[in-house]
Subunit: 408 residues, 4 copies
Amino acid sequence: MGQELGARYAQVRNRSLALVAPLEPEDLCLQGMADASPPKWHLGHTTWFFEQFLLRPQLEAGLQLSYTPAPAAWNFLFNSYYDAVGARHPRPQRGLLSRPPLAEVLAWRQRVDGAVLALLEQLEPGDPRLELVELGLQHEQQHQELLLMDLLDGFSRNPLEPIYAPEPEARFQASSPVANPAENPAESPADTPAPAWLQHGGGLVEIGHPGGSFHFDNEAPRHRQWLEPFAIHSQLVRNGEYAAFIADGGYRRPELWMSEGWAVVQARGWQGPRYWREDGEFSLAGRQPRRPELPVRHLSWFEADAYARWAGARLPSEAEWELLAPQLEQAFGVLWQWTASPYRPYPGFAPAAGAVGEYNGKFMSSQMVLRGSCFLTPAGHARPTYRNFYPPASRWMAAGLRLAQELP
Amino acid sequence: MGQELGARYAQVRNRSLALVAPLEPEDLCLQGMADASPPKWHLGHTTWFFEQFLLRPQLEAGLQLSYTPAPAAWNFLFNSYYDAVGARHPRPQRGLLSRPPLAEVLAWRQRVDGAVLALLEQLEPGDPRLELVELGLQHEQQHQELLLMDLLDGFSRNPLEPIYAPEPEARFQASSPVANPAENPAESPADTPAPAWLQHGGGLVEIGHPGGSFHFDNEAPRHRQWLEPFAIHSQLVRNGEYAAFIADGGYRRPELWMSEGWAVVQARGWQGPRYWREDGEFSLAGRQPRRPELPVRHLSWFEADAYARWAGARLPSEAEWELLAPQLEQAFGVLWQWTASPYRPYPGFAPAAGAVGEYNGKFMSSQMVLRGSCFLTPAGHARPTYRNFYPPASRWMAAGLRLAQELP
Amino acid sequence: MGQELGARYAQVRNRSLALVAPLEPEDLCLQGMADASPPKWHLGHTTWFFEQFLLRPQLEAGLQLSYTPAPAAWNFLFNSYYDAVGARHPRPQRGLLSRPPLAEVLAWRQRVDGAVLALLEQLEPGDPRLELVELGLQHEQQHQELLLMDLLDGFSRNPLEPIYAPEPEARFQASSPVANPAENPAESPADTPAPAWLQHGGGLVEIGHPGGSFHFDNEAPRHRQWLEPFAIHSQLVRNGEYAAFIADGGYRRPELWMSEGWAVVQARGWQGPRYWREDGEFSLAGRQPRRPELPVRHLSWFEADAYARWAGARLPSEAEWELLAPQLEQAFGVLWQWTASPYRPYPGFAPAAGAVGEYNGKFMSSQMVLRGSCFLTPAGHARPTYRNFYPPASRWMAAGLRLAQELP
Amino acid sequence: MGQELGARYAQVRNRSLALVAPLEPEDLCLQGMADASPPKWHLGHTTWFFEQFLLRPQLEAGLQLSYTPAPAAWNFLFNSYYDAVGARHPRPQRGLLSRPPLAEVLAWRQRVDGAVLALLEQLEPGDPRLELVELGLQHEQQHQELLLMDLLDGFSRNPLEPIYAPEPEARFQASSPVANPAENPAESPADTPAPAWLQHGGGLVEIGHPGGSFHFDNEAPRHRQWLEPFAIHSQLVRNGEYAAFIADGGYRRPELWMSEGWAVVQARGWQGPRYWREDGEFSLAGRQPRRPELPVRHLSWFEADAYARWAGARLPSEAEWELLAPQLEQAFGVLWQWTASPYRPYPGFAPAAGAVGEYNGKFMSSQMVLRGSCFLTPAGHARPTYRNFYPPASRWMAAGLRLAQELP
């Protein structure tokens, strides 16, 4: 068990380093907005997670471990939101942490990696610390995705329109072994089935993770839900379709919007998806031509909801999405997909014990669920029961939408 | 039909005037915050509703009607949020509308009342305009409640702690014929049954308004839902219980709170319910002693949710509440009760046609449902299916909570 | 002495009441912005001044005085900025003070007036309390002017464009016995001398109040200053001239502006004087046609400074203005006139002792001096040495400008 | 001329590089607040100055010059505030410019340096471009000082309290050949004369730069001013003296403060100089013990003004300071010294022609003059007539104060 996990540990941790390889040193501290974090902070925080939740308890328990923790102040700097662990550096000021310099953060990563791998060798199957390591890796994979989304946000604020990598998808190791049609459309049109509405008769269904393998606490417990008959579209909404919404006055017609969303549209002057620029779209590959056949991305929930209303449809609930996921095209590895469901606990939900219990449960207000995964999601990190969540006005994540509708 | 409705029309409209009778002239323009509106504005806006949606269409249709509409600018001033009707005066600046003076607004009310009553006499049963009048009256009753809540907010910002009325509940004509135990506790203890957990076995249930009588669009359609077994407490949480939560560090323990709520607690320095002041509580009767046996009120959803977590329970979902409503004490006429349910459309929801379709549907994001009614709610304005809604940080409404829990 | 002052006391105090006579009750609480105060507050504050600085010390000294002070809370409500007197109600929230109602404030005024007049009868010439009464009257006159300026600001935010009075100047009792040419231009053209540059050879001059009669502390001490030769224009800049500045791109050419002012122009979207609206100008008489021959008003210092630069001139220093004041047209009773001088203490300046020492001295940073008086200034309240002051971005006062230039 | 200037050019430009040598790569992009700029931006902006005002005009004039300008977008990025030159990147977002990377900025510096040095060789004495080069060097020296002040601000926001250099003063090449007593107090006490009040009889004096050598436009023209008799203290106020002010309630007594300053004290919670921390002081050498005998620094004008009032004195006017500068200790090379003078143009002031005319003149509102120079000021950059200026609430500059008083 430990060995196999050790190999996976090394692979996941190294991928983080590979992601920052193309960056300039100054990029490591780039924080475009309060919601985002600089790459160096992601590197430090994911390391802190292992030190804080895995290594420190060993040391405190008096275990022999050839590991010296980072300076106490680092605990303050690299805690993200775990109140149980203590005070933390304000998130909007992470970009001001030019120190510790990258070299020190990388050296810390190495020391932590050494200690974790040494510990892993000693663990018997069933040891709860194995689960903590797995959680730490899943956590790091989430931050790998975030690191790239945050970087895109930061780069988008630079008039030079920097290029992260000419073909980022190769570097991203997207979750599907099949080439990502969103990024490699040239290869796919022939293979793509015709768009369709996939139907489901509703009734008493079950959703949620059944247990027995890794999942986050918010995916459980598996539980029953009653659904009326519905249909979900097999494909994601595309740039060309979204352009038609805009051309039809989508951003100027309040009747299409939630009141809260309309206020955001006015206040921020939205006129299209976040990274549309003239005829192109800004991306990690710099500004690229906008192709009508590709899924539209970097939309807020408000935009997804308004588009669906304009199209005479609605967003799917997360239960509907989960039930039909096996039949959907582009369910994984392309874009996160907004649902109609507010992010709330499942019946019988109980957060994990201890500080890691702050992982998901405390964010269950004023956010909407997204399902699937995106082209930045690391391989092996997608599940039909996975519940992602963002506030309805957020747009910097790789999010798109697909339509749903009631059936008679 | 028209006659009966005419009597009801006169009664509801007069009650608005009765509510402002104890006020000083300057109070009529008092707006304590952007979320609230001055009393005069409420008087004008409820009148505008009848002019805009009932009388103007008659005039535009060439109907003989001895009514001259208010100046065009008034339409701009007294529109609340109906985008389809045109631009409107910014809500945070309603307190700056010292003109039109009260006398002119009251004269307008009279002219509108005359025209509506005259129209009513001509309408046959089944005429859709009867429904519009009923909607306008329900709308006015909502604003009667709001007027008093907004006034309390405005008065709460005055160091003189003004008194609206010594015994406001008499004036409020609370919805229950039974004396309001929240306001007249001396009369009630003997009659009060012992507190209890009321159980329900769950299963496939139906909620929502079945139709056939007045209801808002958001209460429909009636639909099925699957529930797991649950229990709801028969009574509202009381001041004394809430004080124990505070004494136990309720406002200093982040693990009890949604992350978003904890940020609000920090930013606004919350240490207790909104109107608690030293040992008393500010109210429409001025500062009053705080009585432990009365239901705690003027809480945000974040506080209700944190209290429930602290108490080892949770808030009821709106379906759970609706199912057990007939058995609950204090279900109506005391305090609105926060539920665990985000405010979203029922399956198959369709907003009403035309501008009145903006009434409810466009607010279905980032708000939480409250159920029941409160001691300020006008008689006849409460229903088991009624869905009230506010953002989770709002506290100026007369809101409290009751607990729920899973059953095995 | 006391008798004559008593008559003056009654006259000044009554004028405040006359000023609010045309108002609707709701207007009494109107506060358009944080810098302004509602009329009722002005009535209360000017009364507080006499109670606080004149009557209370008598009572505290055990003097027999048939006067009972206002409730302690009123001291908190009606203190403007006297830190030495204690805490005070936040200025931006004065509009929320719907209570105490006007009737109570007026009753308080009467009680204070009775006590002050009774006290005045007992005072011998030379008694320092006579000076305090005079200071209180001068203070009230300042607030009379402010009350009207603040009211104009509040009315300007109402789309109905309320009218305070059709011929406000009659009510204002402007300081000059001669009809105000700004308001009655029809009567004046014939009498108006041709515009001219008035010259002064500079040298060692004296400015400041010489003492021996009432003046504010900031006007003293009279002191020497060295001036180079200069000229000041005999007349104020007119609407027509200012329109030429606008037409020449005045608000779009950063080279004409102080950097700080240019930022304000951008941030607030200034395109002309504050109350210009289409072809008219909003005023206390409602919207009026804009007449090119009238002095331009409601300009910030930034605009006055930019205009002067555009015109190839500059603003006069306060010393230059004071020296030539006797020869200037429109020096008094038309508009306050921005100068090039920051508001700072004269050499040897010492603030008055006690709380009234906070009257002027503590405002001597980041403000600019204005000289003269305006058509709202009460009769007898203007002096060549008077130093008025406002922040450079303020525009709600009746301020204009005249040009100056260096002489070779 | 060109040769000598060429040597100086190389020396000044190289010093900028030496200043950033001790930094980590991420520090190059560190911007602690909107008022400050990252080191890399300073390097780019000072280079842009030479390209924009010296090299581009040559190219536009068709002159043979082996220089290719930077990409057009860089002009947008590195313009600071020259409106005449075009739009510019918003100052608060300079920290987001992770690109262009340092290497590219340094390469640009080299290309510009080569072109400027080549041009210099061709210029005859009296060529106006020589003056432009000199202005560019003076400009760069100002930014060298700013770079370090800004860096200190950025570092101060890092809980790790980074150290720029253990003995920064050696690196700073302070303007005085004598060791800086503020930084090397051990060497100086013996040599320090006793503190004293230096007197001046006032009268008609002259201040301002007489011309004939380099000076900024705002130092001219030399002109007459009348002064009353005054005295200035020979030394700067020290930490120990300032601590006594604090201990005496200096930050809690509104009567000591300008009203505007008192509001800042309340809003920002000031309780001492900006970098005082517990018993120490944060500096470019990290946190250091606070030594009572060293001059107090990093004060706002409001604090300097309040301290002077508390001490029964006042700040000197800039004319007073300039007249006695030759006799003052610590006049140069220690700390900038706040004066009582608002920053306004001298009589007859005319800004330089062209875009460089935006250098000083447009900042002449709402700022106060500081005189002298500080320990970060490059050698040769100090003059008795030099007018530095900052808003009265700014504290991140190395500013202190000395006292003055009237003489009878």
